[in-house]
Amino acid sequence: MKFNKDRNWLTKRAEQEDRHFISVGGLISRIDPEWQADVSSVPNVEATKTAFVRLLQLARRERRLSLEQLAQKSDVDLGELVKIESDESFKPTPRTIHQLAEFLKLPAKKLMALAGLLKIKDFGLQQASVRFAARSEPVEDVSPEEHAAFEEYVKFLNEQ
């Protein structure tokens, strides 16, 4: 595509754009209260975030990967990965979750919901996440119980 490279053209167009809105397509009559609630409310956010972090830790350890190796293989920023695993209040970027979902072969939307980027509307997912969070511990070696819980949770995420 041959975009205009003239600086004067760009400045003039920017001035024009700043004087208006540019929205097209259609109108709604009011902001839906439920829509407003969507902005901040993610039910059981602590449990699902815990489940998300534990899932990531276990998936990494199952594959015997360091954080650095996982960052490299999934093409995500190492610093962000460290924050995800060490700080449950950290909000990862959508791209990172998408990359991780691809590498771990998990549904991206569900992983985004667990990471707190989407509202969780599925009660089953909430419940399964709470169960998984309760059954896994962030220890160095994966115990048989943790392995079983991990397998069960991954199966649940992929089945629905």
Partner: protein, 208 residues
Amino acid sequence: MRETIQIIDAQTGAPVDAEIFDEVALPHFIETQAEWRPVILAAARALSQQPNQGLLIPRHFHWDWTRKEAELKLLAVKFYGLAHAGKLQGIMKVETVAHSCRLPEQQGKPLVYIDYIESAPWNIKKLMGALGQPQRFRAVGTRLFEAAVLQSQEEGFRGRLGLHSLPGSEGFYINESGMTPVGRDPHKENLLWCEFTREQAEKYLAGE
């Protein structure tokens, strides 16, 4: 398609490199929902409290972006994204099948239809003004609009372009960009249908 273009840093006034691309994917949609929406909502609330400011809410404020994922696979639909330093600054959706020209001299001919075009809220001067915050980048919408015009030229539509302008945007499309206001569309909330002919598109790109 992925090209480096320039937009303007609103604080320094200097041109800065950005990327415009059509490989829009679900993470971009999530980003708009997660990061744009709270700012838009706050600005919409602030605007609605200003005197003489009738609040008209664009339909896309309500879109559930995660449901738009299916449209990424449609051949007649294309999403464009504009990013600076990896952060999404604007997004546009165009269609090439659902609508045709309405101007008498080109009636019935196929065109590129802009179904959605928006700059991130921190790039919209009026919204940031309502929030008392600085605008981040300028000309983001301009670059997306330019991409739609260029697509029309390159894909055989010869610059023909149409859209339903929201009332607050009519000045931008008619007075500033030179589109022809064809008429109100009773099937589309009485919004104004605006259209580019080949000649108008060429003038727009040339800056006339």
